[in-house]
Each structure stands twice: as structure tokens, then as C-alpha cells.
Symmetry: C2
Subunit: 198 residues, 2 copies
């Protein structure tokens, strides 16, 4: 039905997350009919990014430099390290704007059922970094789900003999949410982690 | 927050229809972290498609050949021409599988409010084609909305002195739908266009 090259383009667009056959066809037609300059820019930038963007040698965030802008920023507090599960989590924390320490980006979380162990997500590199650059506190900001919790507890276990503070970001009710719609697990965490007002 | 090249990639991905800043960031991270081979294939295919895919000289469908596979297929019925508003509409009709004639693909529909007139959507080329390759019937399959109807009536007006059948695809209740949820305009069309059973 499609010409062979158009079909190939539609199949290539399906490598994008969340893009099925209908969206891929819509994207291909839109790019070819309406936005050829945008498509050319996308093709070039993608090739350039693949050639140049790698991981920061220190925190493993995505960057085209040897060391990312956060790790090489002298204004950041080098005594706190925040461990996250993906670059997207790092950007979310940066966007919130309140954290001023350094990061370490794991490649996802432990998931024995999928065969993903400590070596696969970069925990060895984290341990090496902590030996070479000792910090005062490690904040475990892994996702608040089973895999994230398991990864956080695993890292806490590895670090328990070292002389540093290990913390986990708080679980509780999201700001602006309504209690009525919060799930039971979150509510239990919110009660267990309640803060004294006076 | 993002490295400059990563930011550039995220901006480039936003040229895709339906992709906002969050989806673009998700796509960029996914491609760089999880699917570099897919991303490289996408970059190459996109460049190849932009260089090679143009419009069929006869029906204006997207193709890398001079004349598309439908126009150059001797088995198609050359006495019927179906006019559609975009290549996606052509693919939808082909997928339905019941139409065996030729097509002509307009670039959208008339929309005087947006400054889109007959010259902009290819109606001149349609008239030239019909002069050079006379047909017995023109089926106007423009979208069933205000712009599509206006375009269909405009084309019908241009062709009224020629000796050919001009038809418009039927408006009515969609197959598999429930009357309860069909809008009033569609129901009126369904009643006006009712078919005699005997």
C-alpha cells in the first residue's frame, strides 16, 4: 500500500516510545508533506547526538562533554550525592530547583525477574565513585516502586559499614493532591513518615 | 539543565506531530539510552526519504517513483477517479480494499479563512489530469466536515459542464456504531440518504 521507502520510514519511526503504526504513518506523512525542513533537522541532529552524546565519566548523566555541567559546576555541593534511576529523574529534580548537590545516574533499577542485576545498572561504578570521592550523605531517589525500593535497600546495604548518612526520599501524599484519591500504600507511608509540627 | 546537544535533539523531536516537551525528552533519553541502533536507522531513513520521496506525477500521492504503484498498476480501473484530501485518506481507502479505481490526492482542503485557495491544494492539477485522462466518474471522498464539503462542492461546480458522473461518498451512521451516540448532523444525513430495501 505504501511505497517501499515510505513503509521503511514508518517502520523506523516506530522505534520511538509510544508510537504505534497509525501514529508512525501520521508522522511520516506530516514530515514529508508539511515539514521537510524540520525532518531534515531531526535527521541531522539525531546523527550528531548519536555520535557525540555519551555518559558523564563521573555521574553517568547524558552529555556530549567528558564531565557534565552539574559535575563540573564548582557551585554545587560536592558532599551530597543523589542516586536516581534515569536521566529523566535527574531532570525532574533539577527542574524542582531545590537540590544543589551532585548526582549519580543508574541505568534503571534492579529486577532479578528480568535478569537485571547490580552490574547491569552501574552500582559498581557508584561504589568506585564513592571510594574516590567520599561524600557525607547519599540520598537514594530511586523510583517509589518495588524495583526502586529494592535498589535503594540494596545500595544502602552495600554502604552500611561506611561512615556516611544514607537517606531515602520521603513517600507521602503529593502536594496539591486530594486524600480521597490517594492509594492505601501511599497513605500508610504518609502516616508512618508524619512530621512533628511542634 | 540538559546539555546543549541533548536540548537540540529534544527541540528537533518536537517537530513530530503530537509530541510536546515531555514526550520529546522521553524519546531523546530512550533513543540515547536504550535504542541507539533504532535511532541511527531513523536518522538514515529520514534523510533517504527526504531525498527520494516526492509526489506521483499523476495522482500526487507520496512515492519515490515517478508514477506511484496504483497509477502504474494495469489492473486498476482507469475510468473512476477518487479525490481525497491527504495521502492518509488514500491509505485508509486502500486498506478497506473495496475500491479499484485511481486516486487524486489534494493537499488538504479549501479554507478561505486560513488563506488556502484552489491553487494551494492542487485543484488546477486535478483539472489538467481530467482533461488529459478523461474518466467516467469522479468520486469526491473529501473529509466529511465543513472544509471537505466546501472543497467537494467547489470541484463539482468546476466539473458540472463535463460529461461525467460526479459523486460524493455517503454520509451516515458508521458500521458497528450505536445510534444512541451518533450526533444529530450524521443522523439527519443518514435519514436523507436512506436506501430502499425493496
Amino acid at each position: 500500500m505504501h511505497s517501499p521507502l515510505l513503509e521503511q520510514l514508518i517502520q523506523s519511526l516506530r522505534c520511538l516510545p509510544g508510537v504505534g503504526p497509525k501514529s508512525a504513518q501520521r508522522m511520516a506523512i506530516y514530515l514529508l508533506e508539511r515539514n521537510r525542513s524540520g525532518a531534515a533537522r531531526l535527521s541531522d541532529t539525531l546523527a550528531l547526538a548519536l555520535d557525540n552524546i555519551g555518559r558523564c565519566e563521573q555521574c553517568r548523566a547524558l552529555t556530549e562533554e567528558v564531565r557534565c555541567r552539574i559535575c563540573s559546576n564548582p557551585a554545587r555541593n560536592k558532599s551530597i550525592l543523589c542516586v536516581v534511576g534515569s536521566p529523566a529523574d535527574l531532570y525532574a529534580i533539577e527542574q524542582a530547583g531545590s537540590y544543589q548537590g551532585l548526582y549519580f545516574v543508574l541505568s534503571g533499577h534492579l529486577s532479578p525477574i528480568d535478569g537485571i542485576g547490580p552490574d547491569d545498572i552501574g552500582i559498581n561504578e557508584l561504589m568506585t565513585l564513592l571510594q574516590q570521592n567520599p561524600v557525607e550523605e547519599v540520598i537514594l531517589a530511586n523510583n517509589p516502586n518495588v524495583e526502586g525500593d529494592a535498589t535503594a535497600y540494596y545500595i544502602a546495604g552495600l554502604l552500611k559499614d561506611q561512615n556516611l548518612v544514607i537517606s531515602r526520599i520521603a513517600h507521602g501524599v503529593p502536594v496539591g493532591g486530594e486524600l480521597e484519591y490517594v492509594d492505601g500504600g501511599t497513605l500508610s507511608h504518609a502516616f508512618n513518615g508524619r512530621q512533628l509540627l511542634r
